[in-house]
């Protein structure tokens, strides 16, 4: 039954991914464009951890819109899904998960899970923290001080953070959400050179299910809507070759050994077995084992085709030696080889004998 549950989860998830994929293909393709087709390389991961920052040797700045759009469109993590993911959670992933959790709390929950490593490397990233929390939660204040402690000027940073936090309290919910995009835009996004761990960043950063936040950011989405349908197959080319350039052909000596070998390999690799009797007959026809199926009136006349017509008509050469040069035999044979004459001869013959025939009343 556990298996069954898993299957169900997978089904739900797949369906889910599908609907989102179809609905929201834009941002990911857009990312692909900018990030040279490695959307999954781009961790939508905020550098909240100093340690992590050093780890990311290829930290790439990603443009404002790219990231926001990606964030906008991330599907909400299904409860089952996250349950599944929790099983394989390590330190870094828990951080990611924290981010995901924060996102959900934008409008609904006002509580924040304390980070295991709450050190902040950049004040702007801690701003995010504040944004998500809303109220001055004691846990948050603690997080702020922890974050500030990593900065050189500890007290200033802390007070600045708290000030920001309170200021933030005054901002109405909707505006806050609108601002979110800008803040995320300013963040540095880590790009890891190697493949990520088994947790999908896409499912980590989830989106509000109340829908309000989504409509707020719609402007950016629609702005980019033009590129929505772009498939990776229409990407930029390498531009190494000039299109239409013709190769100066080398003297062709027919198929070389290599060509034959290639053809052989292709044939070996593919299924050449006939599927029915006709296909078998086709194969035999190709191998010349079977007399070809007649497709016109000349079928099977290959030998005749090489004989020109006059050889059928002018037959004098066959009379040369084996027959006398003159006399009745010669004459007879001449008539034989010219059939038409033959008929005329009989016509004349019977015309001459007309009287005899009349007498005989034939």
């Amino acid at each position: 039954m556990y298996r069954r549950l898993l299957i169900n989860i997978n089904q739900v998830r797949n369906r889910f991914i599908h609907t989102h994929n179809t609905r929201l293909t834009l941002p990911s393709t857009k990312c692909k464009e900018r990030e040279s087709f490695a959307p999954n390389e781009v961790n939508a991961e905020v550098n909240t951890d100093g340690q992590k920052n050093t780890e990311m040797n290829e930290g790439t700045d990603i443009s404002n819109a790219t990231l926001t759009s990606q964030l906008e469109t991330e599907p909400v993590v299904k409860p089952e899904d996250s349950k599944q993911l929790e099983k394989t959670k390590s330190g870094k992933e828990s951080l990611l998960e924290l981010l995901g959790a924060m996102k959900v709390e934008v409008t609904t929950v006002r509580k924040i899970r304390p980070s295991k490593t709450p050190r902040m490397s950049e004040s702007e990233s801690s701003n995010i923290f504040l944004y998500f929390s809303g109220t001055l939660n004691p846990a948050l204040v603690a997080a702020v001080s922890a974050a500030a402690s990593t900065l050189p000027n500890r007290h200033q940073a802390e007070s600045e953070l708290l000030k920001q936090l309170r200021k933030h309290e005054a901002i109405p919910d909707t505006q806050r959400r609108a601002d979110l995009g800008h803040i995320i835009a300013d963040m540095k996004v880590g790009k890891r050179p190697n493949g990520r761990s088994n947790v999908r960043p896409t499912s980590q950063i989830s989106f509000d299910d109340d829908g309000k936040g989504y409509t707020q950011d719609k402007g950016i989405t629609s702005e980019l809507g033009v590129r929505r349908r772009k498939s990776p197959f229409t990407s930029k080319r390498l531009n190494l070759f000039a299109a239409g350039a013709e190769q100066d052909t080398l003297s062709d000596l027919g198929p070389t050994l290599w060509d034959i070998d290639l053809a052989n390999q292709i044939v070996q690799g593919t299924n050449q077995m006939p599927r029915n009797g006709f296909e078998e007959m086709i194969q035999w026809t190709k191998e010349d084992k079977l007399w070809q199926y007649p497709i016109n009136n000349e079928a099977g006349l290959e030998e005749e085709a090489s004989v020109p017509f006059h050889e059928h008509v002018f037959l004098e050469k066959h009379l040369d030696e084996s027959f006398p040069q003159q006399g009745p035999v010669r004459h007879f044979m001449e008539l034989v080889i010219t059939g038409l004459e033959h008929i005329y001869w009989f016509r004349d013959y019977f015309r001459q004998k007309e009287d005899v025939l009349k007498e005989a009343e034939a």
């Binding site: 896409t202 197959f233 070759f241 000039a242 390999q265 299924n271 296909e279 078998e280 199926y293």
Partner: protein, 692 residues
């Protein structure tokens, strides 16, 4: 009629320009025209229809009476049909029969394979029979000189395997090259050079081709019976099939490029090697693993102010990942080669770009960023990607073993590109596509894409690109795993009935998946049916499969009808345990399988059969569980068989089960016992107490 026939001979132009002042003639002409039209070809008729139609349209539009001059009839060009045209048309009308076995087995119903091992055996024996015949014909050509066929069929005649030209000449050399006799050709070449005869560059190049192609070894005799690679998918399935595997091309693969071999020697003798000579050498070096040497030969070629040809570049691109360590270095080398191609105005072909994509598979993350630009480059050069290109693309984005991270869209994009297209084989790797695509579907559990992949397989001649039997097996195994996992059982069974066993013989693992799918969808009532298939497919001797089946049957209560069929099925399974194959016992009873079987029988109220089974515990030294004995006792009680109840307790005591006292108690309480039985039970009680 005479007139009209005459008119037929008159050219059409003349007929059409006939003055209207001759009505009789005109009518006969129109008659003749009709006649002519009737006799003309189908295409001509179509043409006429078209012109009439357009004429009608025109007149309708212009609202004018039809007085326009008759249209010019264009006699179509003669259509030449290929000699297979009719057969192809006929073949395209034949649909696959899901109840029939593969076409090659239809000649002899006795040899219709029922299991995958039979399939392998029969198809391979057919193949090897053909090869054996060919071997004999070619080895003893003198016995096969009689030519019955009229007209002559060259391919049925023995091939000449011995060189015919004896004296040392260029013609003899060409003959030996054609027959792929490497050693003989090299010897003859040396002889010719020693005798001072010059050999033309073309022939020398052909010789170089031969030596490089064969790696300076005589190729294995072609007509030696040879098999395709027959690695079994799951080794446990077919342990004996491994023995039968032919040495294959393993000898060829081991061969490496040797320093100063004949190819290099002859190449060095050339005063002015041309592109072809270099090409042969470089391709040979790449084929036999001398990668860095190939690159130095290429440098040599450039130093000689020659241009390389496209094949040379293809070979070098294949070699590129081998000579560099780092991903970016590999890629830079490939880009460099491509740039040089462009400089030398060598147009890349499909194989070039497939080689690039294949190399990108080994360039780590660079592959993902560069793969699509490569494809775009292909398209810009109007080279249509083949299935191999897409295969490489998929492999780049979905690495085997790595976890899939939301890259479903790449497969989707690829499927968007290829859907509905008919492909022809152009690259040996083309046949990998379907397997790869289905693997990804299985990994991502994407049923929708799997259906699209399968649909693509049905387009045109694409089925040929699924590859040989072995690959087909893998493909269908993946497809079925996915179906078992994701589809509801009805759809699954629809596929199952369509494809099994006419194109696919499921392995025991797939049958287990199927059982689990039945379990998931609560359709365990189908088990007896599946068991028949399992037997048919030759998996009845798979212990774990049979045990799983028994567990599923015993686990839950079903209605009477189902229980009845389960019981029949269980007895059938028992037979398999009993008989074995040729005296060899295939399955051995375990306590679990025995008690499952007994439970199934008890549930169907087959107490007598179950009682027989119970005795097997002792014969096979297995110990029944307490639960089973209790259940048995309940059943015995329902039947009111006091004797059997006592016997049951005796059996339990015989196994020294710790639960015996409880059983005794139960029997004493629930049954009406005779004095004798009562005594017997109390004796047993004392015995078990003592043994404790």
């Amino acid at each position: 009629m005479d007139q009209s026939q005459l008119a037929m001979v008159v050219p059409r132009r003349y007929l059409l320009s006939e003055p209207p002042s001759a009505p009789v003639m005109a009518s006969s002409c129109s008659q003749a025209l009709r006649h002519h039209v009737c006799k003309s070809s189908r295409i001509l008729r179509i043409h006429l229809q078209k012109s009439y139609r357009s004429f009608a349209l025109n007149s309708a539009a212009d609202q004018q009476p039809a007085v326009s001059s008759p249209e010019e009839i264009v006699i179509p060009k003669k259509k030449t049909w290929s000699k297979e045209a009719v057969l192809q048309a006929l073949a395209s009308a034949v649909k696959r029969d899901p109840t029939a076995s593969d076409s090659r087995f239809q000649d002899d119903p006795y040899l219709t394979p029922k299991t995958s091992s039979e399939f392998k055996l029969f198809s391979l024996s057919q193949e090897s029979g053909r090869n054996a015949a060919k071997y004999f014909i070619n080895t003893y050509p003198k016995y096969f000189q009689k030519d019955y066929a009229q007209p002559h069929i060259p391919c049925l005649m023995p091939e000449t395997l011995e060189a015919q030209i004896e004296e040392a000449s260029e013609a003899a050399l060409i003959e030996r090259i054609r027959m792929r006799k490497v050693k003989a050709a090299v010897d003859l070449y040396d002889q010719l050079l020693q005798a001072g005869t010059s050999v033309s560059l073309d022939v020398t190049n052909q010789l170089l081709d031969l030596i490089c192609f064969c790696g300076d070894h005589d190729p294995a005799q072609e007509n030696v019976p040879e098999q395709r690679n027959e690695e079994t998918e799951d080794v446990q399935d077919e342990p004996q099939a491994k023995k039968g595997r032919a040495p294959k091309a393993s000898g060829l693969l081991k061969a490496t490029w040797k320093e100063n071999n004949n190819a290099e020697r002859i190449f060095a003798l050339l005063s002015e090697p041309n592109t072809h000579s270099y090409s042969a050498l470089i391709r040979g070096m790449v084929k036999y693993g001398a990668y860095s040497k190939a690159f130095s030969t290429y440098t040599d070629l450039l130093n000689n102010r020659l241009k390389a040809d496209v094949q040379t570049f293809n070979a070098l691109i294949i070699a590129a990942p081998e000579v560099k360590e780092k991903y970016n270095e590999k890629w830079e080398l490939i880009v460099d080669l491509l740039k040089q191609m462009a400089e030398q105005k060598v147009k890349p072909n499909l194989l070039t770009l497939n080689a690039v994509l294949k190399a990108l598979r080994r360039c780590g993350t660079l592959g993902k960023s560069q793969a699509f630009p490569v494809i775009s480059e292909m398209k810009a050069l109007s080279i249509d990607p083949s299935l191999a290109s897409y295969n490489h693309l998929l492999t780049i984005f979905y690495k085997t073993g790595a976890t899939i991270q939301g890259q479903t869209d790449i497969l989707q994009e690829v499927m968007n590109e290829v859907s509905g297209k008919s492909f022809t084989a152009q690259d040996p790797d083309d046949a990998q596509f379907f397997i790869t695509a289905m693997r990804i579907c299985l990994d991502t559990k994407d049923m929708e894409q799997a259906y699209r992949v399968h649909e693509l397989l049905g387009v045109g001649e694409n089925w040929r690109l699924l590859g040989n039997d072995f690959q087909q097996n893998i493909y269908y195994a993946r497809f079925f795993s996915l179906l078992c996992m994701m589809e509801n059982i009805d759809v699954m069974l629809k596929w199952y009935r369509d494809l099994v066993p006419s194109v696919y013989y499921p392995s025991s693992n797939i049958m287990r998946d199927l059982l689990q799918a039945l379990d998931t969808d609560n359709r365990l009532d189908l088990i007896p049916q599946i068991w028949k298939d399992i037997k048919q497919l030759g998996h009845a001797n798979r212990q774990n499969l049979v045990e799983e089946l028994l567990i599923l049957m015993a686990r839950e209560k079903h209605n009477q009808e189902v229980q009845e069929s389960f019981a029949e099925c269980a007895l059938d399974i028992k037979k398999i345990y009993d008989t074995g194959d040729r005296g060899k016992v295939l399955l051995s009873w375990t306590a679990g399988s025995l008690s499952d079987l007994i439970s199934v029988l008890l549930a169907a109220h087959r107490r007598q059969d179950a009682w027989e089974m119970l005795k097997l515990f002792k014969t096979h030294n297995r110990v029944p569980s307490e639960e089973l004995l209790n259940r048995f006792l309940t059943c015995v009680k329902e039947a009111g068989e006091v004797n059997q109840a006592v016997e049951l307790v005796q059996i339990s005591a015989g196994f020294c089960l710790p639960e015996t006292p409880k059983l005794i108690q139960r029997v004493q309480q629930e049954f009406e016992l005779t004095e004798q039985q009562r005594n017997m039970l109390s004796d047993l009680e004392i015995q078990t107490f003592n043994s404790d």
